[in-house]
Symmetry: C3
Subunit: 351 residues, 3 copies
């Protein structure tokens, strides 16, 4: 199922300059430490140079700066890590045969492209459209009038609610729920009246969504995930958020309703972003940070509580709680010292 | 599928005073900014008054205080936001035809009401009861002796373990797991002995549960979610918790075992509540706050770390870690200043 | 379905010293407060001694230290809580009949042991192996060449991706996703190039995994969960992590890529562990703590922000943000006081 290629054949596909192609065929990538003679390793950072001496890899991907550090067959490229990603894709992409599993349940007017694949027990409801080459995993649910774009892959157990759209070449992992109702209720005499959520989720092209991530449909307008966004596992994106193109969000992040995240942002794991905030392009949020205000400027933002031995951590919490007292004590000291100095200066004037 | 109604017809159903009914029929709601002439918008706050000038909405829902701010056809009501929710429900509730999908798997002694709907690949085990008008989505699993109340809707891929109960008129979104084992283990010589979790999950009426939320069954007694509770996505409720009626909990919240949350509480997103705590009625917890002690008084509670530019955030973390040193330095200053003043006062007495 | 046993029969199976066996048969456990005469309760801590007076339990499990505190029939054991767990297992383990549901989809070369049970709509792909006595719940997905060990139980809606392995006697709850792609992308000219994730997830024996927990497959090498690990609900374990044997992790925890957690650790709920860290054996992390550095020493570690009334919490956040200013003010005070004392001492020298 995987390809077997010489360095020259790889470079013909992906670019780069080959040094010392032995004609050997490769069919897998590996790290410098674990690669064998049939595998290609990669050097992305000078700190791994020492591993070159002991590597058993059959070939190396590296940058021009490192061309001469090894005599192994190699491909010299601008960005060895990205190049490694592309070589790995050459070797590890399997084709899924087109066709609809006999146990899948398709509405009469669902449109499934001829080259698409639909797994066992998948349900595709009325008006839904599945693009060319798309792969709908086992037991996925594609709701009424939903659209899955060309070349997108949904792993088993993905749920796409009615009217939601997934773009081209997306990857959606198991347990993802796209288009559940946003959390919208009107308070009325101590009870909550449900606000029907009639917007959609609109997902662009080349988006990846990790396992068990949830993206809610909009209340009136849509929730939007732009092209190239990468979402890790167990992320919660509330209704009417907009995530800008090529932003990457790590696991366990929560984004509250109507927040707008810019393009090319990086949101660290378990960070939380409150509702209705606006985050500029190129913002990086450190892991675990709570974002409580809009961030109109690019930059790195952090809220960090130090981890300590338990007894110290408890004492620190007490100190934090009493910070107002400490601030007052310092103000008192400043006042008293000032008085003392004034008194002294007065006395000195007198004398 | 949706209704089409005049303002007068709406008011006949939901109350409110109609001003200037043109006889036009409406079939959808929208915001002031996006509504067209066939849609009804709503004004909930004076800060949106300026949007009234440019709105293309065909009618407005507003409060008595705003009756005269527009000449558009309108319904004057006490709580425009709650009224909008009810109008939206009129326009956006679709009926699901009753019946059991041919591919569903029902135990012989499962009881499914005649007006209920059971989707493709759903499994309903022995002794389970599905109430009148309930909708069991595709591939849902309803375990042995579980009960789903009248009018409740389970979206696709919901799991209800054996013996658990969901009340009437509930909404349960995809990926929800009700009744998984609580996290109960006895430590024995460095290993963990599983404690069978033999309680149930008991969910009241009019509860909504967001996508991928999990509620564990009790260890010996039951985990209880009272009437009218609203749970957002990706919430974790551990065994033997009790959530009081009409409490609303935002996404990503975790509630540890045996915690008891009062009625009408509001728990912000990503807040965490430790086990065995008791939270009074009408408590509000700010997003991201860790609740480490019982809260016997109603009120708003907050634990908040400021977000800063990264360098400042790191320095702040260091300052926090060294708070004990700072407190000591202030105490020293106080002591020294006191000595200085005593010395001075002594000298002055002498002179 | 459950057993019915006398105290003597229980002790024959599980050890312990019986006092006053009445010959009565028991078939369930309960707490001291709720037990009836047909149920066995347990006393694990002196603080519950008062409940002994009013209990209606038919028998008690307790330690030698408490032998004489009751005249009820009892079993005296070393670890009453662990013993209770084992008694509860005797009474509450149900057997699932072996066999493959007619609607399950098995690849021709999948190997399912004769004593295994496969539920409705389960999918078992080519080359997968299901061990003796294993239970594959309804609509589970077992990918290509995956292995489920002897005696392991997967509740409905579990996803195990290709090549991943689950050991013996594991319990995996609904919504768990094992082996989704790790979050690996190479940045290239502002876009993210997907790095194929070709490692596996390898799970040891006697591991329990709570509902909707996700464990990602490794990038090149494997993600490893060792024997006896207990994972609660909604935990995210990123690619290439290793979790040491008998470590217990509470709900909502996130562990970033390549972190290595030791054996016998206890990670509190909602704690977060950054990537590439090493945590020693026997480390305890308090709930909600962010672990930002390796912890080479056993011990308890805590990062805790105090919860306060909202107004105080907001003021505290401001004080925290201005800690650098406070530190400077204290340093100024120290300097000025020192100058004052030097001046004084100088003057005194002069006089």
């Amino acid at each position: 199922m995987t390809s077997s290629l010489t360095l020259t054949e790889i470079a013909q596909k992906l670019g780069g300059e080959v040094c010392g192609d032995s004609g050997a065929k490769f069919s897998q990538v590996a790290s410098l430490q674990t690669a064998n003679a049939e595998q290609i390793a990669f050097l992305t950072d000078s700190k791994y140079l020492s591993q070159l001496n002991s590597t058993r890899a059959g070939a190396i991907l590296l940058s021009a700066a490192h061309t001469d550090v090894t005599s192994l067959p190699r491909i010299v490229v601008d960005n060895p890590y990205a190049y490694y990603a592309r070589v790995a894709a050459l070797f590890n992409t399997e084709s899924t045969p087109a066709g609809i599993a006999s146990s899948a349940s398709l509405a009469v007017d669902a449109k499934v492209a001829a080259s698409a694949s639909v797994g066992e027990y998948a349900v595709i409801e009325a008006g839904a459209v599945i693009g060319e080459g798309a792969i709908i995993g086992n037991a996925c649910f594609i709701g009424r009038d939903a659209v899955i774009g060309t070349g997108s892959r949904l792993y088993p157990h993905v749920t796409v609610y009615h009217h939601c759209q997934v773009g081209r070449d997306c990857v959606v992992h198991s347990g993802v729920v796209i288009g559940g109702d946003g959390f919208g209720f009107a308070e009325d005499a101590g009870q909550w009246i449900k606000i029907p959520q009639i917007g959609r989720v609109m997902i662009g092209d080349s988006v990846e969504i990790g396992a068990n991530t949830t993206i809610d449909r909009g209340a009136l307008d849509d929730t939007v995930i732009e092209d190239g966004v990468k979402l890790d596992n167990q992320i919660q994106i509330a209704h009417n958020c907009r995530i800008g193109a090529h932003t990457a969000i790590a696991g366990c992040v929560g984004i509250a309703g109507s927040a707008r995240i810019g393009r090319h942002c990086k949101i660290g794991g378990a960070a939380m972003i409150l509702g209705h905030l606006e985050i500029a392009d190129n913002v990086t949020i450190s892991p675990g940070s709570m974002v409580t205000r809009s961030l109109p400027q690019a930059g790195v933002y952090t809220a960090l509580l130090p981890l300590q031995a338990h007894e110290d951590g408890i004492k620190t919490a007490v100190h934090i709680r009493q910070l107002n007292v400490l601030v007052e004590r310092v103000a008192n000291l400043e006042k008293e010292l000032k008085q003392l100095k004034e008194l002294k200066s007065l006395k000195e004037q007198k004398t």
